[in-house]
Symmetry: C2
Subunit: 343 residues, 2 copies
């Protein structure tokens, strides 16, 4: 593939960090010919292994991410991190201190860290994040880590677009938090039970094992036949991935990130998943499936933006008619869509 014509895109592909930072800013703000840059960078993507780190708030994701960065740097890999902060749609300010915690990699030219803020409506977060993951890939990062808080549709969408998803949990987060986890669990490729020195760690591991055994994860649900699922469940109970290449059973690794315990084993399990993903037929199918999901999401975003641009004023008129109950909102929507299609 030939180098991009666009100067900034070219410099990113050549590994220039300052150009990378600038392109990230343009993409995040959706200004300055960012779209041309994205188009030109795309043929240069496909090099990086993308790793999502998600989980319940307070589980210690940032500390663990920090450990993973250090482990990858020890292997001399180039690492890029995208940290997604939950923020107010109004103030636009970041709340978490992820960036601060990861400062110790500052000055390492082979580590690039970038935060994105949650956008207000329309799933803008997931779109920006997916675009940024591609930019970081084109910069020739070996590993792109995407850290999300793991709540919300948007973040689930980002999680679905990475190769390998690590779900971080901590003991004793309470029963109701189980509810939040539902969406995250189904994206899990590897589980880390962090703060494993705390009371309740064993119970958390057991709960996860049970859930995996019952097939409450995407992996087993999607690819296992009932018989194979049962074998997979036993494999899961031993916290080893299944020997059966046709499906992946998420292993569970206990860690104490603050003391760097369990990082090596965790890294091994993550790399096992990478191998499965890139070296088996089932893994290849999974990657195609994820690309499709990601593209559908992108398509939806762009369609909505186009439509809002075209229908702006007409929407306000329709709202007024509905507010006065001269029109019902269902008929109003049908009329507006028909108008957009003819525009």
């Amino acid at each position: 593939v030939s180098l991009p014509d666009e100067p900034l895109a070219r410099r990113v592909v050549e590994g220039d960090v300052r150009a990378l930072a600038r392109v990230c800013r343009l993409v995040d703000d959706r200004i300055g010919g960012y779209r041309t840059i994205l188009k030109q960078l795309f043929p240069h993507t496909g090099h990086a292994w993308t790793l999502g780190v998600t989980g319940t708030p307070g589980a210690g994701k940032s500390t663990l991410t920090d450990r993973l960065i250090a482990a990858l740097r020890a292997q001399n890999q180039r690492v890029a991190v995208l940290a997604i902060d939950p923020t107010s749609p109004f103030t636009g300010g970041a709340i978490l201190g992820d960036r601060i915690r990861m400062q110790r990699h500052h000055g390492d030219p082979e580590v690039f860290i970038r935060s994105v803020a949650t956008r207000g409506a329309l799933g803008g977060l997931s779109r920006s994040a997916v675009d940024l993951l591609r930019v970081l890939d084109a910069w020739r990062a070996d590993v792109v880590i995407c850290e999300t808080v793991g709540v919300g549709q948007d973040e689930l969408e980002v999680t679905r677009s990475v190769h390998t998803t690590l779900v971080v949990m901590a003991p004793g987060m309470g029963d109701d938090v189980q509810a939040i986890k539902a969406g995250i669990l189904e994206c899990a490729d590897v589980f880390a039970v962090n703060k494993a020195d705390r009371e309740g760690a064993h119970a958390t591991v057991r709960d996860l094992e049970l859930m995996i055994a019952l097939g409450h994860t995407t992996r087993s649900v999607r690819t296992a036949t009932p018989g194979v699922g049962h074998v997979g469940a036993h494999a899961a109970l031993a916290t080893h991935p299944s020997d059966d290449d046709a499906h992946w059973t998420p292993p569970i690794v206990k860690c104490v990130a603050t003391r760097d315990e369990g990082t090596a084993e965790l890294m091994t399990k993550l790399e096992d998943h990478k191998r499965w993903l890139f070296e088996t037929e089932a893994g290849s199918e999974r990657r195609f499936q994820r690309l499709r999901d990601s593209m559908r999401a992108q398509l939806r975003q762009e369609l909505l933006e186009d439509a809002e641009r075209h229908m702006g004023a007409a929407i306000d008129e329709a709202v007024r008619a509905v507010a006065e109950r001269r029109l019902d909102p269902y008929t109003a929507a049908e009329d507006l869509i028909a108008r957009f299609q003819q525009s």
Copy 2:
């Protein structure tokens, strides 16, 4: 407004509970002429006061909702409850026990309780929920309570479509949970600090007061000038709504829902907000704004569904081209949208 032609819609408007249950099922499953029914019910909506109850998991929303139902029944009001359960997009099964907890209202013909499950993608939850709120309104409920877990874009969207939003918090949920709260807080019209007999309740109240004083809620941000905002902040510190009709400052009420403490005061504050909403000019503007937001959301949903129907096969082709890097996803999306517009 004349009665609906459609027999089920007619029976709902006449107050028939069995017809109501059936229509809810049709709307939730999006089958059986549900759209005609929704269109015919719409002119009969506008009677109910819709009340959202949301907040961090474990804060005791269901118990408090139960108390509010009892208080409203004591005033002889007809109450409908829509409980939104976070569920797996795959299993479709409910996790929380809301329905069980509210069983004690079972048998009261003036209380109707319905659960909806979270839908997988595309914000299907918010759309179903908003439709169901309208159905419950058309049944002539005096109050429609919508209980959500309060995490996720979808649920935020539901929250934005109700008249009055009660945000329930509990002491000691940890710092990181603050992050999740960001989205919820901005929707708050009234705060309940539940489990107020626990350690840390005072600190939670103080945190909220500070946040309100700093203008971190939609209400003050949207309508206050800097000077007025300052006055509002002081009013908030005294946990009274501002005397200034032009904007609403969310009051904070301490409760112990399990012992039914604070329910009466909470009810008063909620009714204060209702009065502000329906009897002031600023309130009227707010209602129009919310209808617009809600309609825009509906429009987006319908557009996406139409587009998916039209582009189905073409999307798969495009995904293949992108997977092989013959095409970039940005150009692919542009082509697909152009094709949909010409269909």
